[in-house]
Subunit: 491 residues, 4 copies
């Protein structure tokens, strides 16, 4: 396993083609907009380390090599693994207060491990063999993978093969003896520029006509032909300012990219699916399922940070005993723990697939994520209620450092309690970050749309709940069938 420092060094050796704010990025590891997001990924290299108090969460034994590996490169062997995954994610959410980006790769590895197994078992070929070789490579080198799924989709009323511009779904444009050529793009790529590998998967289930679009593979993230364009986040340029206070989260941040593939070559040994349309939907559903489980951990950890920030401000304001504020704090905790309960439950109810990899309960994972599209917003609202309006009206750190107005701020924005005014303001900025700033991208909007929008969960929930069985329960208790026949004699 790599240390955080080795991870940073490994990234420096890569050769990305990237843009941010309309400028080429020469060295991502030195770009102030990107550094906080790399810090967050680096935290995933701390948690597996033996000296870390949570090393048991962050590392585990590889079922391939038997060696100790990062849980982020592991495929789950039992329900305890699934539970530990969620606990590790909560821990990292607590440490970083933001999205630490490495879960999409973990979830992609797990989804591929069982899907390629079944694909190869049913259709022959080398899908699973290739994947297992890739997995071993990832485990041995402790690599970060970007799990790339969402295509632009173009005209939503048309299937992939019907699109005027087929590139709106990433697809195979040429098959060669040594590999394939692909074109297209992936949206919303969390942490892409911080990854060693990109694992591409189809964006949805495919029909036989969409053969060229049923493609899955993994390649190094700096492969020729790939362009990264950094997405913009609320208040992002505060990361480029001198000072740290106004960033809110002084260490960590998230990252989203638009990733474009232009005539990118993928060697056959890295191709896991190429035209087996029947397995596209299975892969998508499993990846989405794992990722919906993930949110029951990582967002809960960020919620813990927000709860802590609010509780600290209650202390600073001398209001820790005020009944209605305590009540709101408990409500924040309650909602946050409900999300966690869903993450744990869909893990505890997991089951083994033929590959030996454990799946989560799809029903409960979708329930988990649907709650995640709601509760963080309410938690954020309660946080703003408790901390007060100063969060959005206070002047900047520049003013605080100014010889004339700085003392005015010190005088008039002081706490009651011997607490350094700067601490109050810093804590407010952290709450701002998570509820209305750069951190809100991950804590709110990503909670809404990451791993699919709410309607995707609703469809899965309707499908997974056995409504027919529930009808039979009701009919028995209403005396239908036994007391009266359901169908009219007359009809």
């Amino acid at each position: 396993m790599m240390t955080p420092e080795e991870y940073r060094e490994s990234l420096k050796r890569m050769n990305f083609k990237a843009y941010a704010l309309g400028e080429p990025v020469e060295e991502p590891t030195e770009h102030p907009l990107i550094i906080p997001s790399q810090n967050a990924v680096a935290a995933t290299f701390e948690i597996g380390q033996t000296e870390d108090s949570c090393s048991a969460l962050g590392s585990c034994a590889s079922h391939i090599s038997g060696q100790s590996i990062s849980r982020f490169t592991h495929t789950h062997r039992n329900t305890q693994d699934l539970i530990n995954k969620v606990k590790m994610q909560r821990e990292l959410g607590q440490r970083t207060g933001t999205c630490f980006q490495r879960c999409v790769g973990m979830d992609a590895l797990n989804a591929l491990s069982s899907t390629t197994y079944e694909l190869e078992a049913e259709m022959g070929g080398e899908s699973n063999q290739r994947f297992m070789a890739f997995l071993e490579h990832v485990q041995q080198n402790d690599l970060v993978s970007d799990g790339a799924m969402t295509d632009p989709k173009g005209d939503r009323s048309k299937r992939p093969h019907q699109q005027p511009d087929p590139d709106v779904y990433l697809h195979v444009t040429e098959k060669r003896s040594d590999g394939i050529i692909v074109n297209g793009a992936k949206l919303h790529q969390t942490g892409a520029l911080n990854s060693h590998e990109i694992i591409v998967m189809p964006t949805m289930s495919m029909k036989p006509e969409d053969e060229a679009f049923a493609v899955s593979f993994a390649i190094p993230a700096d492969t020729k032909g790939i362009t990264y364009i950094l997405g913009r986040q609320a208040s992002d340029t505060r990361k480029m300012e001198p000072g740290t206070m106004d960033r809110g989260n002084v260490i960590y941040g998230g990252q989203e990219c638009l990733v474009v593939f232009q005539d990118v070559f993928v060697p056959w040994e890295r191709v896991f699916m190429c035209g087996e349309t029947r397995f596209a939907g299975i892969l998508v559903e499993r990846f989405a399922g794992y990722h919906r489980q993930s949110y029951g951990g990582c967002k809960v950890g960020v919620g813990d940070v927000l709860i802590g920030a609010v509780a600290a401000l209650m202390d600073y304001h001398g209001l820790s005993k005020v009944s209605h504020l305590k009540d709101k704090l408990v409500e924040m905790i309650h909602l946050n723990e409900t999300l966690y309960a869903c993450g744990i439950a869909c893990s505890a109810e997991g089951y083994e697939t033929p590959s030996g990899t454990y799946e989560i309960s799809q029903l409960l994972a979708n329930v988990c994520k649907l709650n995640v599209t709601r509760f963080p917003y309410e938690i954020a609202r309660l946080a703003q209620d408790i901390v007060g309006g100063l969060m959005v009206t206070m002047p900047s750190e520049f003013d605080l450092n100014h010889p004339e107005v700085g003392p005015m701020m010190q005088k008039y924005l002081a706490c009651s309690s011997g607490i350094n005014t700067v601490c109050r303001l810093r804590m407010m900025r952290l709450v701002e970050n998570i509820t209305i700033g750069a951190g809100a991208v991950g804590y709110l909007t990503e909670s809404m749309h990451g791993a699919g929008p709410p309607q995707a969960m609703r469809i899965m929930i309707g499908r997974q709940a056995d409504v027919e069985y529930k009808k039979s329960l009701a009919k028995r208790l209403a005396g239908i069938g036994s007391v009266v026949e359901e169908t009219c004699a007359c009809s």
Copy 2:
């Protein structure tokens, strides 16, 4: 283990002193108000039977005798036991569509098993020995126990020993060589008249001055000096009418009693706590915790019935494909499964106590129950939305059977779809039962107040969540401590 029939027979042999609607009840097992509630308890004797498809949930091996026993008499040995308990409860909620009453006894046994163990370990005496003998008796005879906790409490601003009438807290009025005499009452006793034994516990934590009130014991439910007064439920007398349709739930129902103890004698071998005030609060907290977990199973099962009833009515009405109705049905399922997730999660996160009995996660069990005080109400509201207003405006079964107006109802209340009109009306009555009738007592009001009111959960959640740790997380990310000192130099 007893069969349902043997259970009914065993009750007939008991000699209760009971009242219902102002009349003495000669034979509870033949009273039309009580029979449905006995049917519900009897269902707990089906689920453990080997021929039952869920026997693995309903029965397990006794850790005392090694023999197969009902899970209702078992003390949980591992987290899988805790999970299976919740699954058994969901299954029974599905079968009965109501409260099946036997959980309070199971939860009392478990709470006593660890509490008496610790009490005896710390204070000496025979507390745990006596309890274990009682447990063996319950297991071998497959008995139903009423777990009796809630005292009337009188003046809430006064402690037990300060009450003008001390009987408002059940207490020891005399200690004799062969046992104790107790007086008082227990409110809200679910299924009391269907029980073989009553297990009495204190109603809350006690202080040294409240010694006489820190009392726990078990006695046969028909012990001399105990009077049962049946509580009244919405629409209860429909159970006494001819016909079954208007009952809604044609087989099952709940039961609540006011139980009065007048100079009741308890032999020492059945006394588990008598003055050890320090353990009163521990016992209460553990019992409440188990019972808050329980609601993540039983109420979910009733929710399944309600969802099924609503889905069946959508079929009957030819509206199964209507988008906004499907959406509401999915919302009902989502809320119901969120409760289940909480029930499972607090079980999966359980841990062993020194006695070997497993405790649930108190934090998540309280989160579970707090959600139970909310979601069933919203599920019921959505049910009423989907099924339509006829549920509360339709005439009675008497009218349906009347030669002149019956055909009018058949003509004008018919479904579109060849479905027997009576089935539509019966299904509506089932929804009425659960949302605004006798079943709503268990599904709604008991969801609110059973195992304690919402505020009790809020206090526990605030206490169990490690807010100090969360503050430290936030301070690190805001740069407090590292970048600036929290306390003013000046202060």
Copy 3:
């Protein structure tokens, strides 16, 4: 205007054909199931009386005769009339704690006054003349009218004229020189048996092919061929028991009937619409709009009673100062007043129609009613939270009066505070009545479905809000149109 006593006498002179619980009802005014509902209608005859403190709300000057009339027979002449209507309804909801049933007639009169005016203006005939004569008759005799709209509707996928059994929509089966013959039924007829007149209206907008179904008229409620079948309500038979406590509301109740029309003759002078299909939808929309406004008054009044009951129980329990309970009480008030605000606002934003009758704001009236489908449920949930579980576990009034168990109840269900135990129990029964008993029919389920189900409001809200205008606002602020063109040059 009639006195309450005169109203009761006037009903005795009528000759209804009615059934309740499968038995013919000889004299509705003496039937214990019906008396409480007549008491509620009678309250509408108190509020207009000069000695009543609210006579200004209950009575006003007829724009026809100039005489003082009941507001229930008035057609609104200005926005103050609309506001006063809502205030009168709140007042009556407060007095009766239930549905007082006379609003449907008032709303039907108002909807017909403007619709028949426009119908006659456009299509000729005597529609408005006949209606005005009827209105004068109603005003002069201070009559109660049932506004009958909802048809059974049969197969919802078919239009009225396509139904296998056309009777599922009330319709004209014969036109004669002196009048028309109609057949069909009306569901959910609130207070029908307490009315002097029935005003029939179509159930929805009609197409030209549905000519026979576009029919509106008024006839005496005891006209030959009309049969009333009383609907059953939760806990309704408590009204037939001796004693009053268990009823909860000791004076008032609601009433719903299934009303069947078999070859009923309507003379032409009472026919307001007969085949003018284009006006059916207009009439429905206006009636529904007024009735959705109504709920912003009457249900608020019932909410006031529930809030008062809960506040009284907080007093009785000695808990009036407990912070979290006070907070919940304020939430109940807040939700209740939000409904009232909607009722007032849709009135204040009313406008004059060509007939001189004032219409409400359709947008805000639908917003009002959509909130009514939600907030009373939450208010009821909060009420149950505050008052405690005893509400559903307490024994009956029969037990309270029993020489042996009555004193036990007195002893163990006593309040802390010198309050008569019976008062506590009576108040609990009132809360039970409104939240889970006979009163819940009106306060909850009728709030959901009366004046149309939630989806009907959603459709109207979507239609009434000028979304196109809102889009133009957003485009201007986003710089679309000014800074960039909306349509691609390329497309």
Copy 4:
């Protein structure tokens, strides 16, 4: 009345001492962070202009001079004025999509008009005379006033006169023959730098000991001794970047300042309250009441913009007919109109004070604002649900203009429908602005805390609702008083 251009010119003539981002602001009217907020205030000078379609809302006749004046300088003479105020605010919210800042001054004028009237009537002096002279000055010169209320408050457990640093409450430090000297600060001063006058009011009710703090006056905003420090908002520096797209709202923005008073001189003719502690609370309550009403207009207008933006994106995405999205759009409208209904209702229920100025219904204005602390958050959540995650992952306008990556964005972020991709992205940025950017300061956090935090409304609602009367209603219906006596004979 001034034109927008005259307004801008008038500001240029002022001589503010101001800071932004740690730098002195030489000329606020030319500072890119401030210009958008001045544009928003300037819009208030358009709406009163005769050529404007809404001039009837924006202007009215002065009751002093009879001349046409801006409604922002008017004191309300009747309920229609109160209603028109709300309508004007909605209109301006629609036009600007942000806080237009001039309401605090209007609300301060109205609150002072009645409070000074009563103060002078009771205590003598010239309070009202001075105020009326000031009002005439404001009306004749069409001035913008900042209504300055919120003090820093220091240690919340201490009264003003007990504070170690008395400056944490603005107060009189010297009384001179020609006027008073004041010191202190006001937080959260919306639009302060865009104002001609500052109207200072006490921050809360005062006790006799707090005499020095019961001070109210008006002075030119550029009076010597006043320092303005601009607050920082999410994504504020986007306003300083070239390009307009990433701002979201390309024209308008809000403004908040910390305003510090150092030995500021106020001539007696501008002092409205100086030591009359009994009237401090009345003034605060009235100002807060008007301002809570205001939010039922302005925030509704911003909500209209957000609804329009979301609806436009549904068009762009070709998803306008998708059932679940339409349903969410209707929910946004429903919540928004509920806020409006509360704004209208508290106006329609207004009443005249002795001064002739109309007060709103305090109960309903507080209900209005309490809903405003909730619904905009849910509206924003729904907006994010509908528009999709691209809102927070899309690259910047710089990238869009870049020759290499710009075409990639055009290709891969295109809409399906011939719509210019830039329009899609601009509209997304507008939604970002309002829900997670600079606009969210006004639409969300200010909705929470402006005019007081939620708890302030809850206290007022509890106080204004006549709970005792509601108790009496419940007692009558439960038979308490008539059937049984409330108090025990025995007690």
